[in-house]
């Protein structure tokens, strides 16, 4: 079984990876992308997953582990493996604001669209992802709201435990949510 944390960039995927690690789930991550102001506790990413469309078999390295796969890359998941996906959801206006801030800090160029157009584009993208997920009933899916994680990390940790059908360190998972940090960032967003 391969456990995937997915969602739009800046929807809380790194936080969920951090919680899974604290809960005792083996993580596939190379630490190549260092912690920064956008993700002070790290990204928990595995750089090679970006080449999933070109090298679909690389996903086999995640067997028995959890890894982060951004929503755009879900389409490239090869068949013939068992997946369980935790899909993070966050209001798109917050996602767009947070992405803009991150792009500004990275000094790169994002989509040449207004915020409203980008929200619409991300919405359309999510619709495609949802349609794709519906066509893959073999994939186990758990949707989690970012704000629910912040509000009640203990309850969310229990939900994750039930979904993954294992015994996790729920206390440790819940402690990963730094209320002050996330409250601040949400308010900024």
């Amino acid at each position: 079984m391969i456990t995937i944390v997915s969602g739009l960039p800046r929807s809380g995927t790194s936080l969920m990876m951090q919680m899974l690690a604290a809960g005792g789930i083996p993580i596939l991550s190379d630490g190549e992308r260092a912690a920064d102001a956008d993700n002070p506790r790290g990204y928990w990413e595995w750089e090679r997953i970006k080449r999933l469309p070109q090298e679909p078999d690389c996903i086999d390295e995640a067997e028995g582990k959890a890894l982060k796969v951004i929503s755009q890359l879900l389409f490239a998941l090869p068949a013939g493996r068992s997946y369980q996906i935790i899909f993070m959801e966050r209001p798109l206006s917050e996602v767009v604001t947070s992405q803009a801030e991150m792009i500004r800090r990275r000094g790169t160029s994002g989509a040449a669209l207004s915020a409203a157009a980008l929200v619409a584009g991300l919405q359309a993208h999510l619709s495609q992802v949802n349609a794709w997920l519906q066509r893959r009933p073999d994939i186990l899916l758990c949707r989690l709201e970012y704000h629910q994680v912040l509000r009640d990390p203990r309850c969310v940790s229990e939900t994750v435990q039930r979904f993954l059908q294992g015994t996790l360190d729920l206390e440790s998972m819940a402690r990963q949510v730094d209320q002050s940090l996330y409250r601040c960032r949400t308010q900024t967003a």
Binding site: P53, Q72, L73, A76, R106, A117, G121
Partner: protein, 702 residues
């Protein structure tokens, strides 16, 4: 709801088929099936839309809507999965095609090979996408059918077996077309491979079509063949008479390929008609013609979709079946009219948001035409892809770019990113040209402005921007732009050869020899042409003529140029010179409606009214939507005493152009004649006086 006029409808698409090539073959008895078909049905020109690019056109045929509405805007679109490009897909079409509407109404419907048809749509029947016939990989190795090429998926294996691989094209298939094939050095000349590829692809589509006709129930089938277009792009420069610069030896080898393509399609038509049976209404159309005579271009513009310069503005239409006239010509048809006509054949309403009209003159009796505001609002399964799959590819590309910028996605390679950027740019360019073609200049303008801003060294963007300014009456801005362009010096477009060929390759077979070379378009003739138009509009006829004649020296083959020269002479009251210019335009393009219209005006000035009527009739026959054509037809008919017909012509002209002051004045006068309609006379007089008053006020204010 009206009664259906057809039990079944078979729509056959022959890309680029042109009467100019067909007629001599009919005369020689070399296309017997089509000869019999037109003798028992109607035939005519089918005016195309601009830009003349097949994916846009075939989707306008299938939807009855212009490309800005249906959303297919070119050969390629960004691929949101890879960051590169892909052939334009069916998920990018925003509106229902004929097979979707018929699916919605429960008809058994099949669609094969249609441009931008991949992935195959889940219609009520079999759908075979345009990627179905392409051979990926050699015959001896695995030759997989692309995912999504056939709907339903259960038919996948059956249809995979129906494909023909280019390697299966044997000597026996080649020699009737190219008897001296053995003389070809295939190491140097790859034309034979290109030939085999086109032949195999069209056989694959034909096999699929005939299989369906043999084995499946059906009410409607649409099948598209790209063969004529591809054979013409690959071999038209070898078609007789031999073009300057074409080696004699090669000419002799390949000179029969184009005619062979038409004869081959005639044979396929025969099979389709036999299998379809007698109770079928058959419509055969092409999206545009193909220059086959002295208008064949000497070179291809080095820009994306440059080979479209070989396309001619008139395709073909013929129809045969119950309630359809026999052995008659129809006039003024456009490719937007096909869809409304098919709906009427099925007794279904035409959408008021469709841009075409029913080809009423093809019917023995005028059909009853039902209408609804739009088929897009009709609820029910129509066999389109789910809405969540139909994402605007440009928006998807922007989202991808956002993810790349955030560092979550591998950036596409430089080539992929460049290709995607070009695809989006070309889609925008094509959209703006759609607006120009439909005279929505204010919608075209901001797009051209943006394109020029981003790519200031692309003269085609500057040219169209100048045209838009001119059309909007912003002469000084157009003039400044053209003057700036003249400082560019000899052409230096930024688009690379690779870029140009890359975009074109979706439609045009690879050109392995250099007989027709890519070449830089010349900016000077059209710059002078546009400057001439500006002077003309400013009322400076001398300066206008000087510019236009200068343009003529640079490129005497621009038909529009001679029209402008003719108009300028007309303004100078040099009627014989004007007539000569319009005749010159007709020498270049015998199907120029504007040239016939110009001659009609000349003859009216000379009081040669019968000739004027004749020329005006030719003009509106070639291009129905030509308000001034109908107006001048009305004037000539009125002078000849055919008052009823004149009224009809004037009514048509003001219907098309309500601001045509003189049309209302004529109608007011004619309706006042004995036996006329005084109420209508009063109405037109009122409109005339009101509009004249408004214009005078406007002039005073100016």
């Amino acid at each position: 709801m009206p009664e259906p006029l057809a039990k079944k409808v078979l729509l056959i698409g022959w890309d680029a088929a042109d009467w100019k090539l067909i007629n001599p073959l009919l005369d020689q008895g070399l296309m017997p099936t089509l000869d019999d078909f037109v003798n028992h049905g109607v035939m005519g020109n089918l005016a195309t839309l601009r830009p003349i690019l097949s994916p846009m056109l075939w989707n306008s045929i299938a939807t009855g809507k212009r490309p800005d509405k249906h959303g297919i805007l070119g050969f390629m679109e960004p691929d949101p999965q890879t960051g590169g490009v892909r052939p334009t897909t069916s998920t990018s079409r925003k509106v229902k095609a004929i097979w979707n509407i018929l699916t919605q109404r429960g008809y058994k419907t099949h669609a094969l090979g249609w441009f931008a048809g991949h992935p195959a749509e889940p219609i009520n029947g079999i759908s075979v996408s345009d990627l179905f016939p392409y051979a990926i990989g050699p015959l001896e190795k695995e030759w997989p059918l692309p995912l999504g090429a056939v709907h339903p998926e259960s038919m996948r294996e059956t249809f995979a077996e129906l494909r023909m691989h280019p390697a299966e094209v044997t000597e026996a298939a080649i020699l009737p077309w190219i008897p001296r094939a053995a003389e070809i050095d295939q190491e140097k000349d790859k034309s034979l491979q290109s030939f085999a590829k086109i032949l195999a692809e069209n056989c694959s589509i034909h096999n699929a079509a005939t299989w369906i006709l043999r084995h499946e129930p059906w009410d409607f089938m649409a099948v598209y063949y790209n063969g004529i277009d591809h054979f013409c792009h690959g071999f038209m420069h070898f078609h007789p008479p031999r073009m300057e610069g074409i080696p004699e030896e090669k000419f002799e080898i390949y000179k029969d390929v184009v005619n062979g393509a038409y004869r081959f399609h005639d044979m396929m038509l025969q099979t389709l008609l036999e299998l379809a049976g007698p109770d079928v209404t058959v419509i055969l159309v092409s999206d545009h013609g193909f220059h086959s005579d002295h208008l064949r271009p000497r070179g291809i513009p080095m820009e994306p979709a440059g080979p479209a310069v070989q396309h001619r503005q008139f395709g073909i239409v013929c129809m045969q079946g119950a309630h359809i006239k026999q052995d008659e010509r129809i006039y003024g048809a456009t490719l937007l009219d096909v869809m409304p006509t098919i709906l009427t054949l099925f007794g279904l309403p035409v959408g008021e948001d469709m841009d075409g009209r029913v080809l009423v003159q093809a019917f023995e009796e005028p059909p009853t035409i039902a209408r609804i505001p739009s088929w897009e609002n009709e609820v029910g399964n129509c066999g389109m892809h789910p809405a969540d799959l139909r994402m605007d590819p440009a928006a998807a590309q922007a989202v991808l770019q956002q993810f790349v910028a955030l560092g979550y996605i591998q950036p596409p390679s430089e080539d992929q990113a460049r290709a995607a950027e070009v695809a989006v740019r070309e889609q925008q360019y094509n959209l703006a040209r759609v607006y120009l073609d439909s005279r929505r200049y204010s919608e075209a303008l901001p797009i051209f402005e943006e394109l020029k801003k981003k790519w200031p060294d692309q003269p085609r963007f500057v040219q169209h921007l100048a045209q838009s300014y001119l059309a909007l009456g912003r002469r000084s801005e157009a003039k400044a732009l053209l003057e700036q362009l003249l400082t560019f010096g000899p052409m230096a477009p930024s688009s690379s050869r690779q870029e140009a060929e890359g975009e074109a390759s979706a439609e045009v077979p690879a050109k392995q020899d250099s007989d027709v070379s890519l070449k830089e378009p010349k900016p000077r003739p059209w710059t002078d042409l546009l400057m001439g138009i500006i002077h003309f509009e400013e009322g400076d006829m001398e300066a206008a003529l000087a510019c236009l004649l200068k343009a003529e020296q640079s490129d005497p083959h621009m038909p529009d140029l001679h029209l402008r020269i003719g108009e300028t002479y007309l303004r100078q009251k040099r009627t014989e010179d004007a007539a000569r210019a319009f005749r010159r335009a007709l020498d270049i393009d015998g199907d120029s409606a504007e040239a016939h219209l110009g001659l009609a005006v000349v003859r009216l000035r000379q009081r040669r009214n019968e000739e004027a009527a004749e020329q005006a009739l030719l003009a509106v026959g070639l291009q129905h939507f030509l308000p001034l054509g109908h107006f001048h037809l009305g004037v000539s008919l009125a002078r000849l005493g055919h008052l009823d017909r004149a009224v009809l012509a004037f009514e048509t002209s003001v219907g098309m152009l309500p601001g045509l002051l003189a049309g209302h004045r004529w109608l007011a006068a004619l309706y006042t004649q004995p036996g006329g309609d005084l109420e209508k006379a009063a109405r037109h007089r009122s409109i005339y006086l009101q509009m004249r008053h408004q214009r005078q006020a406007k002039t005073r204010a100016a």
